[in-house]
């Protein structure tokens, strides 16, 4: 599973930071290690759950888009096709531009043709795309069951569906746009907070190193805490953004943090 690998790697990043943090608090290696192992297990469960939910919600957007495209294409073809079977075949044969939603339609219609209607089309079902949206599942189950529509009923049915899918599609599109704006704002805040932490640590270190001699362990503790906070913040809040946690965000935040915290000590503060 793709997301299991992601969850494992994110958990390992989290756990290594947690181990560093605990180890800087106490010199007891065994205690730090065993506590980190427990944390690995629980954080893995959390991250895996988050990734699954985010995947499912993201797929729903695509499902609604696919349903809308399917109905639109069906209505376009209704003038020439006289029954459900030929209509599905027409939609299936429409050139595919390679977008995710269109590929999904192709898979679904191929699956329908294979399973219920045209059993001769064996290889065309490209794995019967998995549907996460309950509404889309419902519509395609209905199509599977009803293969005796006449032209007039089909037209009414598709018009009704079009009405619904247009609302859903526009709704999902609007939601996606709003999420994109929020994501941008959130990303800026993430970077700003990691930069602030790095800047504060450096300023603090420069100001106190002449007045206080034994700061190393305290500063190490604080640096590892800051790293851990950034990890929690960046890894887990990715779920809020309805996207998969990526290493790019982590790397950017850590790099900015490290650049501001560790680089020229007596330099440009």
């Amino acid at each position: 599973m793709a997301f299991a690998g992601k969850a494992i790697s994110l958990t390992l990043v989290f756990a290594s930071n947690f181990f560093l943090f605990l180890f800087s608090m106490t010199s007891n290696f065994f205690l730090s290690f065993s506590c980190s192992l427990t944390t690995i297990f629980f954080v893995y469960i959390v991250v895996k759950g988050c990734i699954e939910v985010v995947t499912e919600l993201t797929e729903r957007f695509t499902d609604y888009e696919a349903l809308h495209l399917f109905v639109t294409k069906s209505i376009k073809s209704l003038g020439y096709q006289r029954n459900l079977l030929s209509l599905l075949e027409e939609v299936y044969k429409t050139p595919c531009k390679g977008s995710e939603a269109q590929l999904k339609i192709r898979g679904i219609v191929g699956g329908l043709l294979y399973k219920k209607i045209l059993k001769v089309k064996k290889k065309n079902s490209s794995g019967a795309a998995k549907l996460s949206s309950p509404l889309t599942r419902l519509v395609f189950s209905l199509l599977e069951k009803l293969d005796s529509f006449d032209e007039a009923s089909l037209k009414n049915f598709m018009t009704s569906l079009h009405d619904l899918t247009l609302s859903l599609y526009l709704n999902a599109k609007k939601l996606r746009e709003l999420i994109a704006v929020e994501r941008l704002k959130h990303r800026v805040l993430q970077i700003a907070s990691s930069m602030t932490l790095g800047f504060v640590i450096k300023t603090f270190f420069v100001f106190t190193r002449f007045s206080y001699t034994n700061l190393t362990s305290n500063v190490l503790t604080f640096v590892s805490l800051a790293l851990l906070s950034i990890t929690i913040f960046t890894t887990l809040t990715c779920a809020i953004q309805l996207r998969h946690p990526s290493f790019k965000d982590l790397t950017l935040c850590f790099t900015l943090f490290a650049a501001l915290a560790c680089l020229p000590l007596n330099g440009w503060v």
């Binding site: 939601l175 959130h186 906070s229 950034i230 779920a239």
Partner: protein
């Protein structure tokens, strides 16, 4: 309290927070992400009625879909059964969301209803997700919590080094708060996606 016991306590806290979060996430998925009244469900309902008027056989087929798969919410499923048995739909039987209190969704002017309902859905979406500024508040809280240890460490270094020992507890609480905020926001997003 020694630093060892603080570390063990913080690990236990993290484990408890993780278990609670996992349970909440499972509950959310079990209910198929629908929480509270969802405007899109009412839209779906009006379409089902439309389908029923035009193609009775399709509606009966819709009602006879495998109920064990739990595709439709129970409210809609029971209504589908009733309609297929000749039951007349009454608006009073539905729990209408607050914004729909002033009109009947099943009048004849479908086009007007669709436009109105769509605007209301978008308006409700915006109101629920963004005009409350919930996400801005969450981000500010999280940023605030991230910066808070700075004050703790400064006071610890200059006055009481003992404060440093509490840092693992602060971290585990931070972890728990972030998880709870994720649940709140996921519920808000998921409730508008059927």
């Amino acid at each position: 309290m020694s630093s060892e016991s603080v570390i063990i306590l913080s690990s236990i806290l993290m484990a408890i927070f993780s278990a609670i979060f996992d349970h909440q996430l499972k509950e959310l998925r079990k209910r198929n992400f629908t929480t509270g009244s969802n405007p899109l469900l009412f839209k779906m309902l009006s379409i089902m009625r439309h389908v029923h008027q035009n193609i009775p056989s399709s509606f009966i087929a819709l009602a006879r879909l495998d109920s064990s798969r739990q595709i439709l919410p129970s409210q809609l499923r029971s209504l589908a059964w009733k309609l297929s048995l000749g039951y007349r739909l009454e608006t009073k039987t539905l729990d209408l969301p607050p914004f729909m209190g002033f009109f009947d969704p099943f009048t004849r002017n479908e086009q007007k209803i669709n436009e109105h309902m769509f605007q209301e859905i978008i308006g409700d979406l915006r109101r629920r997700l963004f005009t409350t500024n919930i996400r801005n508040i969450i981000t500010l809280i999280i940023t605030g919590i991230t910066i808070t240890p700075v004050i703790v460490i400064i006071s610890a270094l200059f006055y009481q080094k003992g404060i440093l020992e509490v840092l693992p507890i602060v971290t585990s609480l931070f972890y728990g708060i972030v998880l709870q905020l994720i649940v709140v926001v996921l519920k808000r997003y998921a409730s508008v996606l059927i």
